[in-house]
């Protein structure tokens, strides 16, 4: 299995292209980070597509629409405190 270092090394060379092509979408990378297997706006749809393709080994990622900050687009993807601890 590809380790995390190699995955990121592979993914980063393709990441800008993926951001351009799949902005605002959830992405399923191959296990080694060398290719995007599928993309969908809804994460549930992406999981369904991976199941339809019969692919079990994939890595979930998200390409935001704006990148002033990956967490600054008003989407609930950046906890910044005020949490209730378990």
């Amino acid at each position: 299995m590809t380790d995390s270092v190699e995955f990121i090394r592979n993914m980063r060379t393709r990441h800008l292209d993926a951001c351009d092509r799949y902005a605002g979408k959830n992405i399923a990378w191959s296990e080694d980070g060398t290719q995007v297997l599928a993309a969908a706006e809804d994460l549930s749809d992406l999981y369904a597509e991976m199941k339809r393709l019969g692919i079990e080994d994939f890595v979930i990622d998200f390409s935001p629409t704006m990148m002033e900050s990956p967490t600054a687009n008003g989407q609930p993807n950046a906890p910044v405190g005020g949490e209730n601890k378990p």
Partner: protein
Amino acid sequence: MIFSLTPMRLSTPLPYPGGPNGRDVPFVRAIAEHGSFIARGVFLVDPAADSIVLPDQAARQLKIDLSNAPAGHVTAVGGSQVPVRYCQLTLELRSTSVTCRWRTWVAFGPVQRWLLGHIGGLEYFHFSLDPANEEFMLVPRDSLPRV
């Protein structure tokens, strides 16, 4: 563990001298395990996040029933309150020479990105960012509750 930073593009260049149109971001691939089920995702390493946060769909992939899980909320950058439910699972980060597996609490919510926050995550690592060399480092501390 030393990882490469990943380039991200800004939708519009910032009005700074030189007009930067992108920046490098610390992403790390991880595996979440619950029983015999696994989910693989790309974490954004986020020191500003209190906890580790995963999308609700990851819980379904891991066959985790959150209906009776402890509930709470997190506050997004925009100020909105996001309802979450907490659960324990095993996380794994792996480099060529180091494998870190530890059991921790994570929050599941209606989010789109995996976030590696402080409690249960970064608190067990020395994290340093080196944009000039386009890399970042995660060094596990002795306190990491390895499994």
